[in-house]
């Protein structure tokens, strides 16, 4: 049975070139980059080279890159690093559709008594820029708004948000975990102060991420330990994984064009095919401002986990916003924030592609899906 992997927003395969780049740092170059001998010292250069490659992908200066263990650590570092400054005691403006790695810390601060605002979204998953402006006018804040949503792929207007925060004052953090590598980012032009990214969304392995910290941004250290990362993140550098992330960033730059053309074409082909062959389906999210690889489709009157198990039996891998798959008992908070009706919320399936998917794979999914949908609809008490 062939594996058709359409769950890239959950994690991605490690690119073969990345594995090749990492190997020597397990086998030969395993020294500690901070050591005072040739064996360790020779490794330091490779860490800096990886830093440079990642900085280049983001349009940043290498000195502004802090390596972390994952996107969650980067988000936590940003939210705790700025808000624990008791002299400023800043407010926080964020959104209802953020990833738990941002919402978790936000709610922690709300419990501690900070003024925390969660901006809502409309039925297409977009925020209201005027509402953001009003909230910014109320006082300086840390603004944490994701660049692109992991469930729907909806892209927030980061340039507009950045210029507003600049106008009213404040610090801007963005969880760009889903956006990096999928759309061009140039931090020289967009005045963002803090940016989180994750290796395993970028064809690097799980266990490495980074936080971009613009020069001059005040940030309290979260992982307090050694002097690594300029004192901003203690802990001996995860050398092989950092090298891997650097290589993945380099590849992402090379393949960016392909991402926004070929992958987009395949996603559109999948979406169109499913909407045409399966009745009572709808797309969730702003289709005009969306990541090129993501399609969130609701199949009405049937439930997400059941769909996923059936397609998994065929080798097809995706994910869902249904209550049964959410880990809590309610459907995805993103789908709920968009006001998607219950007829569609529990039957929502997210397909997220990568540059490794082929047209044959897409056509197979479109071919097999109608039978699965019919099978579950025959079971459903809501279908006459």
């Amino acid at each position: 049975m062939k594996t058709i992997y359409l769950d890239n927003n959950a994690t991605t395969q490690v690119a073969p070139e990345v594995i090749t780049a990492m190997e020597p740092f397990f086998k030969e170059y395993w020294g500690n980059p901070s050591s005072m001998h040739f064996f360790g010292g020779q490794v330091a250069g490779y860490v800096e080279e990886a830093r440079g490659k990642l900085a280049a992908l983001l349009g940043a200066d290498p000195s502004e890159i802090v390596f972390t263990s994952c996107g969650t650590e980067s988000d936590n570092t940003a939210l705790f690093g700025v808000l624990s400054d008791t002299d400023r005691e800043m407010r926080l403006i964020t959104t209802r559709v953020e990833h738990p790695a941002v919402l978790g810390p936000s709610r922690y601060w709300r419990e501690k008594g900070r003024d925390v605002v969660e901006l809502g979204v409309d039925s297409a998953g977009q925020i209201n820029i005027d509402e953001l402006r009003r909230q910014l006018a109320a006082g300086p804040a840390l603004v944490s708004i994701m660049w692109a949503n992991n469930e729907t792929g909806v892209i927030f207007p980061m340039e507009k948000i950045a210029s507003l925060v600049k106008e009213y004052g404040g610090v801007l953090h963005t969880d760009a975990v889903q956006a990096v590598g999928k759309l061009p980012i140039n931090l020289k032009e967009t005045p963002i102060d803090l940016l989180s990214l994750s290796g395993h969304k970028l064809h690097a392995p799980k266990g490495v991420g980074a936080l971009y910290v613009r020069k001059g941004t005040k940030l309290k250290t979260f992982m307090i330990g050694g002097h690594q990362e300029d004192g901003l993140r203690g802990g001996t550098e995860n050398v092989p994984y950092i090298v891997g992330l650097g290589k993945a960033a380099e590849l992402a730059g090379e393949f960016m064009e392909e991402e926004v053309t070929n992958v987009l074409k395949l996603r559109d082909r999948l979406e169109k095919g499913l909407l045409e062959t399966c009745p009572d389906t709808r797309v969730n999210g702003d289709v005009k401002n969306r990541l090129p690889n993501t399609s969130n489709i609701s199949f009405e009157f049937i439930e997400g986990e059941a769909i996923l198990y059936h397609i998994s039996d065929l080798g097809i891998c995706a994910s869902s916003g249904s209550a049964c798959t959410s880990g809590s008992l309610e459907p995805s908070h993103v789908i709920r924030a968009m006001g998607v009706p219950f007829t569609a919320a529990h039957g929502s399936i997210r397909f997220s592609l990568s540059r490794y998917n082929t047209q044959d794979e897409i056509d197979y999914v479109v071919k097999e899906m109608p039978a699965i949908v019919d099978r579950l609809r025959a079971l459903s008490p809501f279908v006459k």
């Binding site: 008594g113 009157f301 049937i302 439930e303 997400g304 986990e305 059941a306 198990y309 039996d313 249904s322 209550a323 049964c324 798959t325 809590s328 008992l329 309610e330 459907p331 219950f342 007829t343 529990h346 025959a378 079971l379 459903s380 008490p381 809501f382």
Partner: protein, 282 residues
């Protein structure tokens, strides 16, 4: 992925008795699209009053579909009296067990069966009627249902109740209420098991503090926050609870009323009738 048994997956992939019965004897409907789970069960009796045929339609996940299929297989051939005694644990056992967080699927099966039997016996509605006080507003679960599930499955924690009924799995405000129901059932069971006079079990200090914290966070603070206020737990000394008001409450000239009518009343209701609340002014 869930740790489903082979039997669950088999009944999910090849469910038995799917469909409807023309001119059924009993029809039971539970759940809704909002819930994410729904089951419509129908049965037909033979001349001897035994269930000759049963059919189902389900909206739900793999374990919901498997539970419904299992249920119809279990009840075929039973008398109505026998069917009335089928427990949710029997459904789960038939499938070789269900993950804890999916036990509510087996409970849904038992509820649909009861609704169908009641529908046959009284000719009333096929939909499950909510009897008694609704404890969980998010999922519409009554005190009776929670009590029953706690009793029949010997549950001891709020988390287990959520796994079996979904109650408490939404906003979480009903969790202290659920804990009270559990405590009540456990106490009743213990009193029934030990008829000899025994000193009443007191709450340990740790339990009391935890319960106080839970009540303040889940019940009291949301009420104050609605009006822009809040409070902080400062200390607990025996039956004395010391709090400090925050936000709008801090400057409010009727905060004394809030202290007694809201904070103390709720703590006496959920923790212990002996509690006295005092305010510590910062």
């Amino acid at each position: 992925m869930w740790n489903y048994t082979g039997k669950v997956l088999e009944h999910f992939r090849n469910p038995r008795n799917v469909g409807t019965i023309e001119d059924p004897d009993g029809v039971g409907e539970v759940g809704s699209l909002a819930c994410g789970d729904a089951l419509k069960l129908m049965f037909k009796l033979d001349a001897d009053g035994k269930i000759a045929d049963a059919k189902f339609k389900t909206f739900g996940c793999a374990s919901a579909i498997a539970s419904s299929s299992a249920l119809t297989e279990i009840i075929k051939g039973m008398t109505l009296e026998e069917a009335g005694g089928v427990t949710n644990q029997q459904i789960a056992d038939y499938l070789g067990g269900l993950p804890e967080q999916k036990m509510h699927c087996s409970v849904m099966g038992r509820e649909a069966l009861e609704a169908a039997i009641e529908n046959y016996q009284t000719g009333g509605t096929s939909k499950k009627i909510l009897e008694g006080k609704v404890v969980c507003n998010c999922f519409g679960i009554t005190e009776e249902e929670i009590e029953r599930v706690v009793r029949e499955n010997a549950l001891t924690s709020v988390e287990e109740v959520t796994n079996y009924t979904k109650a408490g799995g939404g906003c979480g405000n009903c969790k202290p209420d659920i804990q009270n129901i559990i405590d009540r059932v456990v106490k009743e069971r213990e009193e029934a098991d030990k008829p000899a006079a025994e000193a009443p079990r007191k709450m340990t200090i740790l339990q009391k503090i935890k319960r106080i914290e839970q009540t303040l966070n889940d019940v009291v603070r949301p009420m104050l926050q609605k009006d822009g206020g809040d409070l902080e737990l400062v200390d607990v000394d025996g039956d004395k609870v010391i709090v400090s008001f925050r936000g709008m409450c801090a400057g409010c000239n009727v905060a004394q009323f809030t202290l007694k009518d809201v904070v103390e009343t709720k703590l006496r209701e959920f923790v212990s009738p002996d509690i006295v609340v005092e305010e510590e002014r910062v």
